[in-house]
Amino acid sequence: TAGNRIFHFGQCRVSMSMTEIRLGFTAIKANIQARDPIRTLSILSHPHSLHKVKSSDRCCITHHLFNFYVDKVFKHCKTEDSYINRKISSIANSFLSMKRKLRQCHEQNKCMCEEESTEKFKQILANYEGLNVTSAAMKSLGELDILLDWME
């Protein structure tokens, strides 16, 4: 079912449902990943996996990544396929909903950014800006399951 779960990002505890995002992404994953010609590069996992992020840094990285996807990625993923566009809209609006929940932790200073997480996010941005914007956005969208797996 649309399972709300309590996510622990360091001190930050947020109740969120990932099910609808998962369903939406699973429906378009193959199509999106097929549009990504550069398979040797990763936006989220280069050079280090998200799994190396310390627990205390999880909230900051998640906060940054939500903003990254909402501000930079989704808007450059428009396709000629109406079905794909509708699913991307569904994911983007769900991200907006989650971003709002995480902001509460940010406002309660439970989402502190230490140097390591800042560096990690800078690396992700560098990976992103190393490609042309459409390729970078499609690749980032195609890697959404990396983020979802790491969050869960």
Partner: protein, 204 residues
């Protein structure tokens, strides 16, 4: 070509997380009017240049209702609009007044059937879709202070609640819970049954 009238009375009927957009028909004598629907989530409004997304199942349809459940898939504010077409003639977009957020859906109590099979108490719940869970309360009649609760996350055919003693009535009621919007329905009517040897016995 003269502009067609804009579709009016655009509204949403939302029950149990099923959302239907409807509008008044545009009347053009001797012509078949067709309608197209588009939606805009908060993301499109705030981050994607106020773009609109067509719902292809409701493109150039003759009906004046569209199932938008599939596209209202986040708990944010959505805008909806409808346009009319007759041949080469077209109307302006008619936009629904105000936003729609699925958190406002109306939740009805679940249909429920309580079964006493010998000394076993079962409940059969309506399958209302993946977004729904159920909270089932059951108690011995007269012992309302000792209510027991069972949360049913996945609707299988029948749910076993308890093993009953012979004699007293056992009463059951249920409500739905939708985690995506963190809301519950009101409780269903209470149904009571009694164990009777090997036969099912109904007492409503």
């Amino acid at each position: 070509d003269a502009l067609l009238p804009t579709p009016q009375n655009i509204s949403i009927l939302s029950t149990n997380m099923k959302h239907f957009l409807s509008w008044s028909p545009v009347i053009v004598q001797g012509e078949t009017v067709r309608y197209s629907v588009e939606f805009q989530g908060e993301y499109e409004r705030d981050y994607a240049n106020e773009s609109w997304i067509p719902i292809c199942e409701c493109s150039l349809i003759t009906a004046t209702v569209c199932n938008i459940t599939e596209d209202i898939s986040a708990t944010v504010a959505y805008n909806l609009r409808v346009r009319a077409d007759v041949g080469t003639r077209r109307s302006e977009w008619g936009t629904m007044k105000g936003f729609f957020n699925r958190i406002t859906t109306s939740l009805t109590p679940p249909l429920m059937k309580v079964i006493a099979d010998g000394y076993h108490l079962f409940v059969e719940l309506e399958d209302m879709g993946p977004a729904f869970q159920f909270c089932v309360l059951y108690w011995k009649k007269g012992q309302e202070s000792r209510v027991q609760q069972k949360v049913v996350k996945e609707v299988s055919s029948v749910v076993h609640l308890d093993t009953m003693e012979a004699g007293p009535d056992y009463c059951v009621k249920a409500q739905t819970y939708v985690e995506a919007i963190n809301r519950s329905s009101s409780f269903s009517q209470t149904q009571c049954v009694r164990a009777q040897g090997g036969t099912s016995m109904w007492l409503v």
